[in-house]
């Protein structure tokens, strides 16, 4: 095997531009595949989980005891879509209103007319119809005076997202197909068994595997190095995007961190690329050899 590897290195070194092009093509294809995988596995669920969807504003009837208010808060949090629930106490709302109106708190003798408000904030993944159902359900609860739900904008956003999802899925599938074609092509480009070499090797009694091995190694090396380059590029790209993602997440009241990948995953990517390269190299060289070996 070491002789085959040495020969493979010599083969790649004898045509450096072809090797470089093959490695870059493989790297580009693998970056594309990994980006699709990272977005699907890491980013999409986090976006869906962001509490930036529609809100229900639940106006609590005045004179509702604190215990009942707390019970309402718990029931809201248990609704489908598990909204985040926060309380805007009537006293705080009145104080803010008074401050905005330029009246010093405590100088106004009139009673506070504002109710306590519970705001249920849904995530981006919730269905608009589910929010409307929840609003109708909450209206029937004891202690609830009124419910306000702004779902129209969210319905339009969901329709846009569905359209973008279809376009994204088609583009993703096309990218995967392109990558699936580019990888074997990059490996196959490293294989060129001249007829003369096949003839000499056959003449000296070389077996098929002896002839094919260096070319399979060359193809495997090309894809393995391409995969290593792709992983390095992706790591740089993800860490470069981190500040932008952090600020976007902060604007939505959340935080963002890339999912922690197991150590074996990058190794598996490189090994799989090498195996694909080996198989492609083996098949293509075999085909060249069969045409050279055609009986005369």
């Amino acid at each position: 095997m070491s002789a085959a590897l040495r020969r493979a290195a010599a083969l790649l070194g004898s045509r450096p531009w072809r090797f470089l092009l093959g490695m870059l093509t493989a790297a580009a294809a693998i970056v594309l595949l990994l980006t699709v995988a990272v977005v699907a596995a890491g980013v999409a669920p986090r976006i869906a989980g962001l509490k930036a969807g529609p809100q229900l504003s639940v106006f609590v009837a005045t004179e509702t005891p604190q215990s009942e208010l707390e019970a309402l808060q718990s029931r809201l949090a248990a609704l489908d879509g598990a909204p985040a629930v926060r309380l805007i106490p009537r006293a705080r709302a009145f104080a803010e209103l008074s401050a905005r109106a330029g009246v010093a708190a405590g100088t106004e003798t009139r009673a506070n007319p504002l109710p306590d408000v519970l705001v249920a904030q849904f995530g981006l993944g919730v269905e608009p119809a589910a929010v409307e159902r929840a609003a109708a359900q909450v209206r029937t609860w004891r202690g609830v005076d009124a419910v306000q739900a702004e779902v129209g904008w969210y319905r339009r956003l969901a329709a846009l997202a569905a359209g973008a999802g279809v376009v994204g899925a088609v583009a993703g599938a096309a990218a995967l197909l392109l990558a699936a074609m580019a990888l074997p092509a990059a490996a196959a480009a490293q294989v060129r068994l001249p007829r003369e070499e096949a003839a000499v090797l056959r003449m000296v009694g070389a077996s098929t595997s002896f002839i094919v091995r260096p070319y399979a190694c060359a193809a495997a090396l090309t894809l393995a190095l391409g995969a290593t380059l792709a992983l390095a590029l992706l790591a740089v790209a993800l860490s470069s995007a981190q500040p932008q993602l952090d600020s976007a997440a902060a604007a939505l009241g959340s935080t963002f961190a890339w999912p922690r990948l197991p150590v074996w995953l990058p190794i598996a990517v490189v090994v799989m690329a090498a195996v694909l390269g080996w198989l492609t190299g083996w098949i293509v060289t075999h085909r060249h050899l069969r045409s050279s070996d055609a009986p005369q």
Binding site: S2, E196, M203, V204, G205, S207, Q296
Partner: protein
């Protein structure tokens, strides 16, 4: 590495062998046999089928008709490992010498040993020894074949043919690129191989032009054989 063959068994037997390339006949009903440790010269004019005869013995081509037996085994039935074993038991020198120019002379000569399963370093050591015997100095051994003279390439091809210590040596016009003195040297060396038990089958257009050993037997092919 050697063929399993008793002294009385012919090593190579051609029985009414014909070879055609498309409609063009090259050999017609050729029959002969070669015994172990024999020096045989296949002679004849251009297009008489000398090179084809050697390629048929090495099973690099198949006959159109007739049977060829090597070491008691009909070549038509040889497949896979048996065929590899047959080729590894032979040393072949083609005309012109087929050497791969994408590697050094040393690595060309190491190929048969490596192909037979020898570790690469060991194969290179054995190739270096064979090249030294063939008269190529170490600096020449590291050159590409195209950087050598015709005679040196011929000697490198001979070294490659000998590196696996074959029982049968097939040589196509081995003296074509050599001067008279070098040809005489080569014939002496080949005769020594025959004495040590190697069988030599050599194609030669003009056997009278080279000092063949006394033991050499000439099989003359005529263009008429093919027509």
């Amino acid at each position: 590495m050697s063929f399993v063959v008793t002294p009385s068994t012919p090593l190579v037997v051609f029985d009414r062998v014909a070879k055609r390339y498309g409609a063009m006949p090259v050999l017609r009903a050729l029959s002969f046999s070669v015994t172990r440790s024999e020096f045989v010269v296949v002679s004849g004019p251009t297009s008489a089928g000398k090179s084809t005869t050697l390629r048929l013995i090495a099973a690099l081509e198949r006959p159109s008709e007739g049977t060829i037996t090597v070491a008691g085994s009909p070549l038509a039935g040889l497949r896979g490992r048996a065929l590899l074993h047959l080729r590894r038991s032979m040393g072949i020198v083609t005309q012109p010498p087929l050497l791969l120019d994408d590697r050094s002379v040393l690595h060309n000569v190491a190929l048969p040993a490596a192909a037979a399963g020898m570790p690469w370093r060991e194969a290179c050591d054995r190739a270096a020894a064979a090249l030294n015997k063939a008269g190529l100095v170490p600096s020449e051994q590291l050159l590409r074949p195209s950087h050598l003279s015709g005679g040196a390439r011929q000697r490198a091809a001979l070294a490659r043919a000998l590196v696996n210590r074959p029982a049968l040596l097939l040589l196509d016009e081995p003296a074509a690129q050599l001067d008279a003195a070098a040809s005489a040297d080569l014939m002496r060396v080949l005769d020594q191989f025959v004495v040590s038990g190697v069988t030599v089958v050599m194609a030669c257009a003009h056997p009278r032009a080279i000092p063949l050993p006394a033991r050499a037997r000439v099989i003359a092919l005529d263009v008429e054989d093919a027509r």
